[in-house]
């Protein structure tokens, strides 16, 4: 059986379409279906490593206490050079490889965010 160009789609094109569909699905799953249930309890203080995001990404702290978040930026990307805790009105420059302490005392239970200065990287503080 002979396969003529124009009559039937060439195999490479079919492969490209299949590969594209699979890659799109993978991208969707990889970035948008991320399960961020790993919550680390902070206690009175916690170290947060800033490297391609915040590690741990979600922390939980007890309502009514003061918690010191110690940020250590290892990522030289300018995107992460500032950390912002908008609910606490904190915007702080994070020098590379230097610890920066930020103390917070949330007055209400709820979910508070940690974001980078450009609003691209996100972390979460759960206050219970």
């Amino acid at each position: 059986m002979t396969c003529y160009r124009g009559d039937l789609m060439a195999i490479d094109k079919i492969l490209v379409i299949l590969f594209s569909l699979m890659s799109t699905g993978f991208v969707y799953w990889f970035f948008l279906m991320k399960n961020s249930k790993d919550v680390v309890a902070a206690g009175k203080s916690i170290n947060i490593i800033v490297d391609g995001g915040y590690q741990p990404e979600t922390i939980s702290i007890a309502l009514g206490s003061t918690t010191t978040l110690t940020f250590l930026r290892r990522d030289p990307s300018s995107c992460l050079e500032e950390v912002v805790l908008p609910d606490f009105k904190i915007r702080k420059f994070l020098p590379l490889n230097k610890k920066v302490n930020i103390s917070i005392s949330p007055k209400k239970a709820g979910e508070y965010e940690i974001v980078c200065g450009m609003n691209m990287f996100h972390g979460k503080i759960l206050v219970k």
Binding site: M9, K13, V16, I17, S20, S23, T24, V27, Y28, F30, F31, L32, K34, K44, S45, D51, G52, G53, Q55, E57, S65, T66, T68, D75, P76, S77, S78, C79, L80, V84, L85, P86, D87, F88, K89, I90, R91, K92, F93, P95, L96, K98, V100, N101, I102, S103, S105, G117, M118, N119, M120, F121, H122
Partner: protein, 742 residues
């Protein structure tokens, strides 16, 4: 010996016994005089001699007993930040220079027309690979460095897009260079795109360089404020002048300041007089004369005289420190308008990657020959042109410049939300006393009725008012004192809020107050109504005095309107804002003052506790209301208003209820604050429009949406120019706010 008092956060306390353990350990440390630990606030306040004891010793004293104090919390020296940024900029500059130089050489050797003039060596693909490799992996390492850990956390940002885009172009080119025959067998010309990969990296780094420089300028205002702080103070100790670091000045220190010197901390002038330039704090350009008893503010400039003053606020309590804190807080807050950006940016990069994949597939399947090259180049263009940075920078940079600009003019904005609401304000309510007027009323007329003389009336009224704290009472007592009238003793004094006062003097029942008081006490004043109304239409507040239920005299008091009041009201009206005056004065007096100032709407005879309700009533009309007051007596009304504006007394900034605090007393600043809000919001909207519009328009162009109609495609190199300029233009637009005149 100089002692300093500092407060630190304590970590690890659980119960009251922890408090005792930490306090004991601290007080045992040599040099520590007092240590107070508070479990509720988790703070330790330590008074110590810095010559004997260091903060490190305090830290180890606390850690020895199993707890931790944060002595260097939050403090990132501006110098460290500056140093790091300068270093970053230098590295970037070098990388830009190398990548653009090598990129230009590759472009010369590969671009269709240009290459005819290029040396043969540069046309060699292997040489091009050699030149492109350091750009891809040395200059471009910054993109991989950010992408790898981000992918580990399943997140992505702009660096991810650049890393994928340039890597695709680079690997394709390497393949073409290494296996040209395979590519040719597929019917594609063996043409590498090293120029694309290198120049895109060079241009994006160049954009980042300019962006970093511009971004540094957005926080200039706060750096300027921090830099305003004096470094040392000349403290008088046993009659000798000793220069001490500012951190060691304690409350109660006597400080000497000479002409041309900065005032180190806040305090009260004790000896001498001078003219002080307070423009850096209040924005008011004229120097202010200060005499004994006046407040002086740290960081302001002493112009003419030498004086000594007593420090009343030091460290984080000074006005400058509070201003810095307010501005920092505002810059760390988030404007509600940013919510939409948050939502979009969380999907943006993954969606762009999916669009890039789709672009590749569509061009490969239905695109013209050579479809693989078209598919690859257009996919790279999509990845490169997408610019999430511009969206991320649009709001915060404008907020930073706007709040900083405000601070320079004595306009302190609590947070981004207040700034956002202020631009919608269409009605401004001014509290009269102390805001539109000086708040220091004076007696203008005394009208005797019957046999009593002017001085007798003043004597009776002043004797009665001596026990009252009302500002009108103060005016009457002061007037009596000026006339050297000896006051009588009164008994059974009673102040009736909203009416006046009553009491007994020389065995006679006295009532002194407004008409409502006389009506209540059934004192007949009907035959003097014309006289009362005449005084009231002149803007004066008239008080009636009765002795044993008979009217004996009238005293008129007037408060001087501030010089800037009329211009302040006019400036607001020009902006289309309705100006309302609220006062406890009677209607006629209030209307007379309102007329003088050009105010149309007056809320008169409002008792202090009714102000909040009045604000609510105007809000119920659908108005967005700003309330301007002194922030002390009208805190509930300030809190109720959509925007509470507190006019500072020139020294006191910490007004919790206010959304905006105006440090100076010039009423034109209210209009400036609204203008600042409007301009900042306009800048934010322009930035967002540009950032969104840019992506919405150019991503489809990069995908090739114009190709079927006009045969237009976007070369990845132009995509990188557009991308770099997009975030620079957003930051530059925010910086333009600095140039606006308020």
């Amino acid at each position: 010996m100089v002692e300093i008092k500092k407060t630190y956060s304590v970590v690890g306390m659980h119960c009251a016994s922890c408090v005792g353990v930490i306090e004991k350990s601290l007080t045992r440390t040599p040099g520590v005089k007092v240590a107070n630990v508070n479990l509720a606030t988790e703070k330790a306040t330590v008074m110590f001699d810095p010559d004997i004891c260091t903060e490190d010793q305090l830290e180890s004293a606390v850690s020895n007993v199993g707890y931790k104090i944060i002595t260097k919390d939050d403090v990132i020296s501006p110098d460290l930040e500056k140093e790091q940024k300068a270093k970053e900029l230098k590295v970037l500059r070098n990388k830009v220079a190398v990548s653009l130089f090598l990129g230009a050489l590759i472009l010369w050797g590969s671009f269709p027309v240009l290459s005819t003039t290029a040396p043969v060596l540069l046309k060699n693909f292997w040489i091009q690979l050699l030149l492109a490799t350091p750009v891809q992996f040395w200059a471009g390492w910054i993109f991989y460095r950010a992408t790898i850990p981000a992918l580990k956390h399943r997140t992505a940002n702009m660096d991810t897009l650049v890393a994928i885009g340039t890597t695709v172009a680079f690997l394709y080119s390497v393949f073409v260079t290494v296996f040209p025959s395979i590519v040719m067998n597929l019917g594609i010309e063996a043409m590498p795109y090293f120029d694309v990969a290198t120049i895109v990296i060079g241009l994006i780094l160049l954009g980042r360089y300019f962006e970093a420089r511009a971004k540094g300028q957005t926080s200039e205002a706060i750096k300027k404020l921090i830099g305003m702080q004096a470094k040392t103070a000349r403290v008088l100790v046993n009659g000798k002048e000793i220069d001490v670091p500012i951190e060691q000045v304690v409350i109660g220190s006597i400080i000497r300041v000479r002409p041309g010197e900065k005032i180190p901390v806040d305090g009260i002038l004790q000896d001498g007089e001078s003219s002080i330039d307070e423009s850096m704090i209040t924005g008011e350009s004229l120097p202010v004369d200060k005499i004994k008893g006046d407040t002086v503010v740290g960081a302001t400039l002493n112009k003419t005289g030498t004086f000594t003053y007593k420090a009343t606020k030091v460290g984080s309590d000074t006005m400058l420190a509070q201003i810095i804190k307010l501005v920092q807080d505002a810059q760390g807050s988030k404007a509600p308008i940013q919510r939409i950006v948050d939502l979009i940016s969380s999907y943006f990069v993954p969606v762009v990657i999916m669009l890039a994949i789709a672009t590749f597939a569509v061009w490969y399947v239905v695109g013209p020959a050579p479809s693989l090259a078209f598919a690859m180049l257009n996919m790279v263009a999509v990845l490169i042109i997408a610019c999430p940075c511009a969206m991320g920078l649009a709001t915060p940079t404008a907020i930073m410049v706007g709040t900083g600009k405000g601070a320079e003019q004595g306009i302190l904005i609590k947070d981004a939300e207040s700034l956002e609401i202020a631009h919608k304000v269409n009605t401004i309510i001014f509290d009269k006393t102390g805001t539109l007027t000086r708040g220091k009323p004076e007696v203008t007329d005394i009208v005797p009725i019957g046999k009593h003389s002017v001085n007798e009336i003043l004597k009776l009224a002043a004797s009665l008012e001596k026990g009252s704290e009302h500002s009108l009472a103060e005016a009457i007592v002061k007037s009596a004192e000026n006339k050297k009238i000896k006051l009588e003793k009164t008994g059974k004094f009673k102040a009736v809020s909203g009416f006046g006062v009553e009491g007994i003097a020389s065995g006679k029942q006295l009532f002194f107050g407004n008409r409502k008081l006389m009506e209540r006490e059934k004192v007949d004043f009907r035959s003097h109504i014309a006289q009362i109304e005449k005084l009231e239409t002149e803007g004066k507040t008239v008080m009636l005095l009765s002795v044993d239920k008979n009217l004996v005299g009238l005293i008129a008091v007037a408060d001087t309107v501030k010089e800037s009041a009329k211009a302040g009201v006019e400036a607001l009206r020009r902006k289309g804002i309705e100006v309302v005056m609220i006062t406890g004065d009677n209607k006629r007096t209030a209307e007379a003052i309102a007329k003088k100032l050009g105010i149309d709407r007056v809320l008169a005879e409002v008792l202090p506790d009714q102000k909040e309700a009045e604000v609510r009533k105007i809000q119920a009309e659908g108005k967005v209301v700003a309330m301007v007051g002194d922030g002390i007596n009208d805190a509930p009304a300030l809190a109720q208003a959509n925007v509470g504006i507190a006019m500072g007394s020139g020294t006191d900034v910490a007004i919790e209820a206010a959304d905006i605090t105006l440090v100076n007393r010039d009423l034109r600043t209210v209009a400036s604050a609204i203008e600042l809000s409007r301009k900042t919001m306009r800048t934010i909207k322009m930035n967002l429009f540009w950032a969104f519009g840019y992506n919405i328009l150019l991503i489809p162009v990069a995908m090739g949406a114009l190709y079927p109609f006009f045969h237009i495609l976007l070369n990845p190199i132009f995509a990188s120019v557009a991308m770099a300029s997009s975030s620079i233009s957003v930051v530059s637009n925010s910086l333009l706010l600095k140039r606006y005149r308020l």
